[in-house]
């Protein structure tokens, strides 16, 4: 093909030798373009099938009254209106997602950072510690939740130890309106901190020894070293961890679904679980799609704010 295409181009064009060279280049470029498109098409088809088409369909869905079966009717923005003004669970679900994120992200990053700093180069067996802290990340959520249920239920380990050792009855962690969300956050932090620990740990190892040495010679130690040298040096990694953790926490689903069932009431019902219930339990796919788009806008908005704010605190070496 590469050889034939320019030859055909020159053969069909009447005229002298002078314009032939640019024409040949043009024909070659055109042929390559077609070949390139040939190579790109499978990827583009995949992108279309698995990303663009579902996205377009979900927009269409959100503008319809779209039951699981039966007639679908176009309703414009009515689903969005229903969610924002009528649905009794939407605002509590949005609030729960935000509360979860506000509690989870800082705690996760602070603990992950503390662990990363703690498992420093001078610690013997740091590899083993890293694996230990990373195990909950790779363990299925279902298994994690089973263990935490055994810990937190009234007949569980925590209450058992508390009553037998101190005679103190602990609250009902999974069914008390004030404790259920805290329990979900604690379990999620335990399950998710290993990932950020690994990122931050890798970042700490990349901090040039010359910089820390220079700082030490200048008299920086302990907290001063951490705040003024280490944190600024690893700030791009902290930023990455923060962005990814915020996104994943706004999408939280499995932990509340399995640990508390979204209850008591709607105390631990986050937005994704609300979308899931609306679509697949209450059979209203249009309303669920509208909820998903509101969540999407929320995530994009929060991420955009984070990117804007990074200029103030993230330091890149140029």
């Amino acid at each position: 093909m590469t050889l034939l295409a320019p030859r055909r181009g020159t053969a069909t064009e009447p005229g002298g030798a002078a314009p032939a060279a640019p024409r040949r280049r043009g024909a070659l470029a055109r042929a390559e373009r077609h070949q390139a498109l040939g190579f790109v098409t499978p990827a583009l088809a995949g992108l279309t099938v698995f990303t663009i088409a579902p996205v377009v369909l979900s927009v269409v869905m959100s503008l319809h009254d779209w039951p699981i079966f039966g007639e679908r009717t176009f309703t414009g923005l009515a689903n969005y209106g229903r969610l924002l003004t009528e649905d009794p669970d939407f605002w509590p679900a949005l609030r729960n997602s935000v509360v979860f994120t506000v509690l989870y992200v800082p705690v996760n990053i602070v603990i992950a950072l503390a662990l990363a700093l703690g498992i420093g180069p001078r610690i013997r067996g740091r590899g083993a510690f890293r694996v230990l802290f990373f195990i909950p990340v790779v363990t299925p959520v279902v298994a994690n939740v089973l263990v935490w249920k055994m810990l937190l239920q009234p007949q569980g380990l925590v209450n058992g130890l508390s009553t037998s050792l101190f005679g103190i009855e602990m609250p009902r962690f999974l069914s008390d309106q004030n404790w259920a969300m805290i329990s979900v956050v604690v379990m999620s932090v335990w399950a998710g901190m290993g990932y950020n620990m690994l990122i931050l740990s890798a970042a700490l190892e990349q901090v040039p020894a010359s910089v820390t040495e220079a700082a030490r010679i200048d008299g920086a130690h302990g907290l001063r070293m951490l705040v003024s040298i280490t944190l600024p040096m690893i700030s791009p990694s902290v930023f990455f961890a923060a962005v990814m953790t915020v996104i994943s926490s706004l999408q939280v689903f499995a932990q509340p679904q399995l640990l508390t069932g979204g209850g008591p009431g709607n105390a631990t019902l986050p937005l994704v679980m609300f979308i899931y219930q609306t679509g697949f339990t209450f059979q209203d796919l249009g309303l669920a799609a509208a909820g998903a788009w509101i969540l999407f806008v929320l995530i994009i908005g929060v991420t955009a704010v984070q990117f804007r704010a990074q200029k103030r605190w993230v330091h890149y070496e140029h």
Partner: protein, 424 residues
């Protein structure tokens, strides 16, 4: 600009490809044709564990013999808790299994998904309406039209741990028991043994049965309207929650996600009594548990005994490409051969002629107790009334009722909230 045309063509091509890919899923619809001409009919059913699935495979083998080699039955299962989510997902893509299991309480919300069964369809299936009593068949109908055939008929009963009764010196429950006797026994057992006398439930009829017996009312009234706030029903439901909050005769479930908590408490010996369906009678009372189990009908309230007939069955998906073959499979799965297997496995068959097989399959030493309880429980059992939103109501129960058990809200407020939400 020139490249944009090419890119445009590629995008269009890719869209066409994706449309073709999406479109191809429509042809599935739970059936297919093999190269040898045999039609494959998928049978979708709930099964919580391998033992349950094994039972279904035995039923499938019996049905396969009935339909012959021209039809191949394929089983697809999901646990009860996920079954309806999976069903919703397959229905939304038009890909529901040709023969789909449906729970009677939920038929109202799903009837559109099923092929209506008129005389012609029943003839193809080889089933007659007279094979059932009207109540049993009614659970698979909606608004006077039949959409499925029941494979079992069921009602809720009271299971008890005889060892704990003996330990507490309390007389065993009988089929004439009243709710006062029930509560008093639960309190005494709790006090004398340190084990809770009862386990309240988060799940639909497991919790509704006692309030219904107390008030003689269903949560859906005779005008077929959701009526959770009827003062008598509210009083009855409050009495039920008081078993936890006032009498201390039951613990509260630890979390709203623990829908089977009451059954687990009972089977683990952590509660002396629990309400569950007749489908668990052989499991709970035929020497399978570590304790001696027994079964009686739901204790009677002031207005006498009260229960509802429940049941599940199979229907043919409205989108099925091979309805004729699917009806034959439906007939085989609901017919006498499979009903005999169901009875052997401990299910109470829906077909009248097969029901005696249930008692015959029971171990002799347990047969009398179970048969007497079933006779008492099924006698005069009312047909269950449902509204279109019943699935939603029952799905909302666990997260709401747990707030009542833990004293964070009252039964009246909880029922009022659900009535406001689903009442229209």
């Amino acid at each position: 600009m020139r490249i944009s045309r090419a890119v445009g063509a590629t995008i269009v091509g890719a869209f066409a490809l994706s449309a073709a890919a999406c479109g191809s899923s429509d042809s599935g619809s739970g059936s297919g044709s093999g190269s040898d001409g045999a039609v494959t009919i998928t049978w979708s059913m709930w099964a919580g564990d391998t033992a349950a699935e094994e039972k279904l495979r035995e039923q499938m083998a019996a049905a396969q013999e009935v339909v012959g080699d021209d039809i191949v039955i394929e089983l697809a299962t999901a646990p009860w808790a996920d079954y309806f989510t999976k069903l919703n997902a397959t229905l939304s893509t038009g890909d529901a299994a040709c023969v789909t299991a449906m729970n009677g309480q939920r038929m109202a919300g799903y009837h559109q998904a099923f092929l209506p069964l008129g005389p012609d369809e029943l003839a193809t299936a080889g089933i007659a309406e007279d094979d059932y009593n009207a109540g049993a068949l009614g659970v698979m109908g909606y608004d006077g039209t039949l959409y499925g055939l029941p494979y079992d008929t069921a009602t809720m009963v009271l299971y008890y741990n005889a060892d704990l009764f003996e330990q507490a010196g309390v007389a065993l429950p009988t089929n004439e028991w009243t709710l006062d006797e029930f509560r008093s026994a639960a309190e005494t057992i709790t006090e004398k043994t340190g084990v809770k006398g009862f386990a309240v439930s988060l799940d639909e009829f497991q919790w509704l049965s006692l309030p219904m017996a107390y008030s003689g009312l269903q949560p859906v009234n005779e005008d077929m309207e959701l009526d959770l706030t009827d003062p008598d029903f509210v009083e009855a439901a409050t009495w039920y929650a008081d078993l936890v909050t006032e009498a201390g005769a039951s613990d509260a479930p630890p979390s709203a996600s623990e829908v089977s908590w009451d059954a687990n408490q009972f089977t683990s010996g952590s509660a002396a009594m629990a309400i569950d369906g007749t489908w668990n009678a052989t499991t709970y009372t035929s020497g399978n548990e570590a304790f001696t189990g027994g079964v009686v009908r739901i204790p009677a309230g002031d207005s006498g005994p009260y229960g509802v007939a429940l049941g599940s069955g199979y229907g043919v998906a409205a989108t099925c490409e091979h309805p004729e073959e699917a009806l034959q499979v439906l007939g085989a799965l609901s017919g006498p051969e499979v009903q005999a297997v169901v009875a052997e496995q401990g299910g109470y068959p829906a077909q009248l002629d097969s029901q005696h097989l249930y008692a015959e399959a029971l171990p002799a030493e347990y047969a009398d107790g179970i048969t007497e309880a079933f006779d008492a429980a099924f006698e005069g059992a009312d047909s269950q009334r449902v509204v279109d939103a019943w699935t939603q109501v029952s799905e909302a129960f666990p997260t709401e009722i747990i707030t009542v058990y833990t004293g964070q809200s009252t039964m009246a407020d909880m029922l009022d909230k659900l009535q406001q939400r689903f009442g229209d």
